[in-house]
Symmetry: C2
Subunit: 306 residues, 2 copies
């Protein structure tokens, strides 16, 4: 029994670059982002640093998170302490709010909190950091309403303000941040969230972002939504337990995910952005000549066998 | 066992309006979108037209879709014919692609297609329509990269171009469109999709959008992702069947969902947009002074008992 694909809508990444035109004329066929990725060279990709890569093991599979210490050095250091001491093992997903976030941590944090071990209980918020922290920024030319400038830094979507000389990770789909209460130093990385819906960019510069989920997003996006306010799970909900969170470096080579991320500095990455900014025919009839920051694909793939 | 909410991140709609400021000073506390909704009057809301409201019944519950015939008169008319003749009953969800769409229709469309009855097999694409079709447009002042102007029309997010005098529904989260092949008239409404991820606005003006899911989105967003290309379900996947699709008008009063949508023309709606554009303290430390079209909440609620 074959699948109907007759009336499909095309994959976001299967279409090519074209002229900007509001006319009804067919757009020229151009290489798509996926086509371009196929032409990439090994040097267009970088390996993950196993000390900045976390494996969150859930019963249904593995979520891989790449940390970005340059954008939140103190918060990432505290998270690393928690991971090193296996703090997250046996904790749970606490919240799944539709079109917003999945959030995880200690279900008993308010009654009988698990010890944070040698991690700090309070870490200053790192809502933005000096631009000098970021050596890899490549600007994206499109207008953005939430930041004076946008771009990518080695696989992370970034906003920045040349006036205040600050930079920050943008709340795109899959980005991971540090839950906090009203005080800016009330977070410590023991409770984290990942964006599972349309990018809530108003959170930018309001909370510390520490990294990005680079594999396993469906494990977080398909979680049953919590029945309580803001998607928190309540007594009647079955929470998903966290089996463990480990550094990639702790995991035997044979059990690793072996992912690599496209270098945003590679010229091919600019071509991929352009291929998404102006898609070509035959499916597309209108090219937007614009690419919103959080619609820019940041390619991740399994490292090809050598 | 109480839930930890100590280190929460605040609900998108729980925060208020404030001054635009990049400084670290606390923002003044202002009413949030949710606070404002509580002050709304019955006249700020409109009932649904039971002839433009579809109930898609899935085994796990009901998805409510509001059709927008003014933005796609021919396609909506064909969908109504299909619904009237119970075409969708017993069909299935065909595709769930993470951060993109869920799509439904006839699993056997390519081998032994179900008869379309008196519906048309081909309907001209209505990727944009004359601005004159839309009597309810209220402009949103924020810049948009995908459309010269943006706004809302009675509960639908809209782009428009005063130069070509055209308007179209924008591909925000929850919007419903008509799958098609390469030819612009290759869709007919027998295969539909809903946006389940970050808004794929490059689809705007490339495909016919017919309405919006106004209740039941989690039933579509939490579907297991399909294992084949583009998230299509394959032979090994368990597809979710569609029990039935009915007009609200066909369903007995006692079994209806009784929803109402905020009128975008009501002055309170502009206040709600502003409350999301510039959120206030104490949680927020930075107000964006910007609201991206697809981040604008369009309130839907159960009709209060009289």
């Amino acid at each position: 029994m074959a699948l109907s694909r007759k009336f499909h809508i095309a994959l976001a990444t299967s279409l090519g670059a074209a002229l900007c035109s509001a006319s009804a004329a067919d757009l020229p066929v151009r290489p798509s982002a996926s086509d371009l990725i196929k032409t990439s060279q090994p040097s267009d990709w970088r390996p993950l640093n196993p000390e900045n890569t976390l494996y969150m093991e859930l019963p249904a599979g593995r979520v891989v998170i790449e940390l970005a210490p340059e954008f939140a050095p103190q918060n990432v250091a505290n998270i690393k302490t928690l991971v090193r001491e296996h703090y997250f093992d046996g904790l749970a997903i606490l919240r799944s709010q539709d079109n917003y976030v999945a959030q995880w941590g200690d279900p008993n944090a308010e009654t009988q909190p698990k010890s944070l071990g040698s991690a700090k209980a309070k870490v200053a918020g790192e809502f933005s950091v000096p631009m000098a922290n970021d050596k890899h920024f490549v600007r994206q030319k499109d207008f953005d309403g939430y930041a004076p400038q946008i771009g990518h830094s080695n696989g992370f979507p970034v906003g920045r303000d040349p006036k205040s000389k600050t930079t920050w990770l943008a709340h795109c789909y899959g980005m991971v941040g540090v839950g906090r209460d009203n005080d800016t130093d009330s977070g410590n990385g023991a409770e984290l969230y990942a964006v599972t819906g349309h990018a809530p960019r108003h959170l930018d510069r309001n909370i510390t972002v520490v990294g990005r989920v680079i594999a396993g997003m469906p494990l977080l996006t398909t979680l049953t939504r919590g029945s309580e306010a803001m998607g928190f799970y309540g007594g009647k909900d079955a929470r998903t337990p966290i089996t463990s969170v480990r550094f990639e470096s702790e995991v035997p080579e044979a059990e690793r995910s072996h992912l690599e991320v496209m270098r945003s500095e590679a010229p091919i990455y600019q071509s991929i952005l352009e291929a998404q900014r102006n898609r070509g025919g035959p499916w597309n009839k209108y090219a937007a000549n614009y690419l919103e920051l959080c619609n820019a694909m940041i390619p991740v793939r399994e490292r090809p066998k050598q």
